[in-house]
Amino acid sequence: MGLHTKTMSELAAGLGSGDFTSVEVTQALLDRIAGHDAKLNALITVTAEAALTAAAQADADRAAGNIGALNGLPIIHKDIFCTRGVKTSCGSKMLDNFVSPYDATVVERMAAAGAVVLGKANMDEFAMGSSNETSFYGPVHNPWDLECSPGGSSGGSAAAVAARFAPAATATDTGGSIRQPAALTGTLGIKPTYGRVSRYGMIAFASSLDQAGVITRSAEDAARLLGVMAGFDERDSTCLDEPVPDYVGELGNSIKGLKVGIVRQHFDEGLDADCGMKVKEAIAVIESLGATAVEVDMPNIDYSVPTYYVVAPAECSSNLSRFDGVRFGHRAENVEDLFDLYCRSRGEGFGDEVKRRIMTGTYVLSAGYYDAYYLKAQQVRHLIADDFKRAFEEVDVIAGPTTPTPAFRLGDKVDDPITMYLNDIYTIGANLGGFPALSVPCGFVNDMPVGLHLVGHHFDESALLRCAHAYEQATDWHTACPEDFK
């Protein structure tokens, strides 16, 4: 078995017992990326030299008895996380020339724990997209079928983990950008509670929704990484000072007696029948492990997508106003005046979907429309969050499909924004309410992976990881590997 097939926990065990070194693991994965990424386009930047240096340092640290929680373990960062001295593009022409002068907190904490960064993952431009087709660097291909999208916006992260380029990758989620690509590539993706992980150095899209997480091939690896990433950071004013439990330690706790809520609206006509079947089978497995399923009512959940497409663009239009062609980023040439500099730098630097969202946001915030759209959406958002809170008085987790269908073909939805937006119909609610959520592989429809979606109460990532871990012990969907990437 090649080193690329191993999960992070398996690699940690092998490094610990001296079966191989971090330099060997790192070289094996770099070779794999060099040999296979032309097919996927999952990475924007490969940091081979820095990775080998970090791996050698990790091996030396281990020999000296200084063994961090992620010592010598390889990881890929989504190109939304600032990495000092390395291009951080956010998938945009706007930042094609941007070399970050500092590290994001997530990057810094993982490096301090001994992780080895292999490179930066492709993504939808500024994380705005559900198919990875809005990237300035071209679409990412799904390792299960190269004609299909891996989902987005963390499509590069998901494809890289599914193709065994790395056991794990960081990712971010504003409306489903971790969980949807995880579902479509047969990987596990977790979006923690809003404020659980620092967003310092993570390029902002919609600040009341954005959260950092990971994509892995097991719940155990997600628990291991979340333990390193989570926790208070004074440099992010929205990061919350809550104790971080021992996620790995709590994985083994039984799920006997766990109450699982099923939302009726999540199984209506919008869901592909075969996907629905797989998800119901998965819920039956979880029940067989001692959990009980009950139906919960969420009367306002159908408003999730329109609410999101007011709130997120509004915040994006404000956040992306920092790209002015002056301090960093693309700058237009031969401009007439300052106004022309702004308009042309932004017109040239941003792609179509980003411009569309900035304009949608500008419109819903503009005089005369603010009350009808933005204020109204923030009210509906409260109703949706209250639906979840009421449900969590009865149940520990809510289970359902992650996506309405398996992966769609590249090009199929790119011309119709509304169809594309509806991809996130089951995932957006968790962002609107700030709840933690996870997608775990639960089978195949027409040979393409689908995911089981679990949402938990605020700060209860443990319940999600425990549930996913128990499910993984009873099934082997999470170990399936695309034929061309074995």
Binding site: L209, V310, L341
Partner: protein, 95 residues
């Protein structure tokens, strides 16, 4: 509600985006679709509902107004297109 070209032009100006003619045509079509879609919200009964300010209903944390970051201007300015003597250069604003 459909948007017309004048409205899209006004939005693009507010957003400081220069669009080509093709982009205007495309934007009128697609933004109208998006606005129609989010108009579904008007059906929700929100009488007396407080607009949500934070997903966890917590107030923004404040910190003392103290200098905590070192001055790294030169390094930060390496990403700027045009600087002189530590200043960012832009086209002349005042004649």
């Amino acid at each position: 509600m459909s948007l017309d070209k004048d409205q899209v032009q006004q939005i693009a100006t507010l957003a400081r985006l220069k669009l080509s003619e093709d982009e205007y045509a495309e934007s009128v079509k697609k933004l109208s679709k998006i606005v129609d879609f989010v108009d579904h919200l008007s059906a929700a009964d929100t009488a007396g509902v407080i607009p949500m300010a934070h997903p966890l209903d917590v107030a923004q944390r404040l910190r003392p107004d103290e200098v905590t970051e070192p001055n790294d201007r030169d390094r930060y300015q390496e990403n700027a297109a045009s600087v002189t003597d530590g200043l960012y250069l832009v086209p002349k604003v005042i004649e």
